[in-house]
Point group: C2
Chain length 403, copies 2
């Protein structure tokens, strides 16, 4: 590709590299491919009938607002509905619309947090592994990123504290810890209640912000819900991001961000120069979707739908994958994380898998330190149920030929 | 407001100040106010019936795509339609979908251009006055902003060249010139063909990019169209941003950005970590809106509608404003720019006008150098036609009491 104007690019453009997942997406337009790659919801869960009903009503009766510019913080009636849900369903005490910003997806929430908080060299601690959409957003601001190991109970708090002390002793500013509390991407694990409480203590002791990214929290298929950091926090240390991409649909491009009101206010002003305001058509569609009680029903349907798919994929893994491999057994979300034998490279495996028309995401890009070569992320949500067995069978055969 | 966490904010947060216009918007929710403030389209122009028809079809027949994630560059069929329109209606030769990115409004286009091109200290030349949403986006990246006077023929090219030479002689990098070619915000003036050609020569001579922001170009009410910089450019120097906010509706949050294909590709990758992709529901609605021929019809209707409003406001200005004032007579767009006598401060006038329930935007924030205290921007599009006379009468009386 001719990079005629690369001499005019900003230095930060060097940090801007195509997301592996985003690039894989193009391949997914090929309908013969069985994809366990993207964190895509199943198209079967999309609520066409309800959206036709709502769009008809909104475009007829609220056109003057739905088609117009909106405020940068988002539609008041939507923020009110979300605050009420957060109090009632999540036990987040005292949250009100002033604590909420409507963002164009949670990727934007991360971008806004980075923009507001991170100076070059500020330390930002993330999981090892962690979702690279987040680290990609933070890298632009030249954060000093460091990884904290994640095990079956989530991020390891003792290591986190050590790292914080290490960086502070070296004179660096630890600004933020980014964590996915529920059904972690890519590992599928959930941070335990004990570790959540410890993380909040550490935030207060060492004066940092915790960004809690919770796109999958409503999609729990087994086990008991654990209160969010946002619900547990009594010191306003948490920025909480929840997406509608996984529980409703990604095309609507909506997420909400909650936090201390002055910080949210500053984030709102930050957003003005990013995109003025979030899509008002989408906000009206979602607001009505909630007010008509469709969201709760949809979440219930999705839980049943994805629980069956998770169970199916776990069953097929038991059936087709060599027994020396290990994988997580998530209680919710979208992902199963597989650890291959040390000598196998999941990236090389992916190339062969593409030849067999089945794709996944190699784990290494989720590891800041370049480890995880022998890991892979499997998404059980996007592929039709009747292709899951075939896809896992093909992958299992391929792996068996290597071990 | 308690700024509890301001010690954790990034340095750039100091550059983030609430947009005066955005803050005014809240006031506009009061229906008694006659507003000439925001650059808002008239709600009467919003195409409710067509959108109900299209949403019903899209949500029924294309749900799997409309509700799903999309590629970061935007919906292929939409980019194809826009490329075809650009070739046919605008005479932009050779433009194809690879030259086009779909953005979440043109504010995002500016943000992405800044993100991709501007290092701290890079010189960015803008009009004096210029749209402050653009300068706000660029300031985040610590651009060295400098203003070039705008007269009735648009930005003054001789001053621009002087400034470029001055900055280059001082060892500074001149990266970009930002210009609104048609019906300039806030002045309503249009850059002449001669100056357009000269600007492109200067870009090639001095090796900079021109960002052509053209949200109003399709809304010409009188006079002859002038080819865009994008159409005139044979050196790929132009990044061209066109919004659907003014010709269709802002709530759909869509704009398109065109440029040299490698630069657009880099911008696409830049966008991945900003918001993954633009709203796919909106993109499908717009794509069908174009394919069904509704956009061209809507533009024609809007031209008739806004021409009448422009003519009405100009008539009322002649009738009610003191004859010592001067104002622009725009051939299109949304704005009339009024220059008050030197001793009058439009900001102070605005405060009194609010008491009389009529608002406008004071001109000074559009001037980088703090000049323009005695100027005001009047938008003739948003207020209902039957309120325009009353609003201008109130303003005229207020001004007459001062001169």
């Amino acid at each position: 590709m001719d990079e005629r104007f690369s001499h005019l690019y900003a230095g930060r453009a060097r940090e801007i590299k195509a997301s592996i997942i985003r690039e894989l997406l193009k391949m997914l337009l090929n309908p013969d491919i069985i994809s366990f790659a993207g964190g895509w919801p199943d198209v079967e869960t999309f609520p066409s009938d309800e959206m036709i009903e709502i769009a008809t009503d909104v475009f007829r009766n609220k056109a003057g607002s739905a088609f117009q510019y909106g405020t940068s913080e988002g539609l008041a009636e939507l923020r009110e509905a979300l605050a009420a849900r957060a109090r009632e369903r999540e036990g987040i005490k005292g949250i009100d619309p002033d604590n909420i910003l409507i963002a164009s997806g949670s990727q934007q929430a991360m971008e806004l947090a980075g923009r507001l908080l991170i100076d070059a060299g500020d330390v930002l601690l993330v999981g090892l592994p962690t979702y690279f959409g987040a680290t990609g957003a933070f890298k632009i601001y030249r954060a000093h990123l460091d990884g904290v190991p994640v095990d079956g109970d989530g991020m390891q708090m003792d290591v986190l504290e050590e790292k914080v002390r290490h960086h502070q002793a070296a004179g660096r500013r630890v600004k933020m810890v980014y964590v996915q509390t529920n059904f972690h991407n890519p590992m599928g694990v959930t941070l335990t209640l004990e570790r959540r409480k410890r993380l909040l203590e550490l935030a207060e002791t060492y004066d940092f912000i915790v960004m809690e990214d919770n796109p999958y929290g409503d999609l729990r298929y087994s086990g008991e819900p654990i209160p969010s950091l946002m619900a547990l926090d009594s010191n306003d240390r948490v920025i909480y991001a929840c997406s509608f991409s996984k529980i409703l649909c990604p095309g609507i491009r909506l997420a909400w961000v909650a936090g201390e009101s002055a910080l949210i206010r500053k984030m709102v002003v930050t957003k003005q120069f990013v995109d003025l305001c979030t899509n008002t058509i989408s906000q009206h569609l979602l607001s009505e979707f909630i007010h008509r009680g469709y969201l709760d029903k949809r979440i219930e349907l999705n839980i049943r739908h994805y629980r069956a798919k998770r169970d199916l994929m776990l069953e097929m893994l038991d059936k087709y994958f060599p027994s020396e491999l290990i994988w997580t057994r998530p209680q919710g979300g979208f992902f199963i994380f597989v650890t291959l034998p040390e000598h196998l490279d999941a990236g090389a495996l992916l190339k062969e898998a593409i030849g067999k028309e089945v794709v996944f995401v190699a784990g290494q890009p989720f590891f800041l330190d370049g480890s995880g070569r022998n890991t892979m992320r499997l998404s059980f949500t996007g592929a039709p149920a009747d292709r899951i067995e075939e896809g896992i069978r093909r992958l299992g055969e391929l792996i068996k030929s290597k071990v």
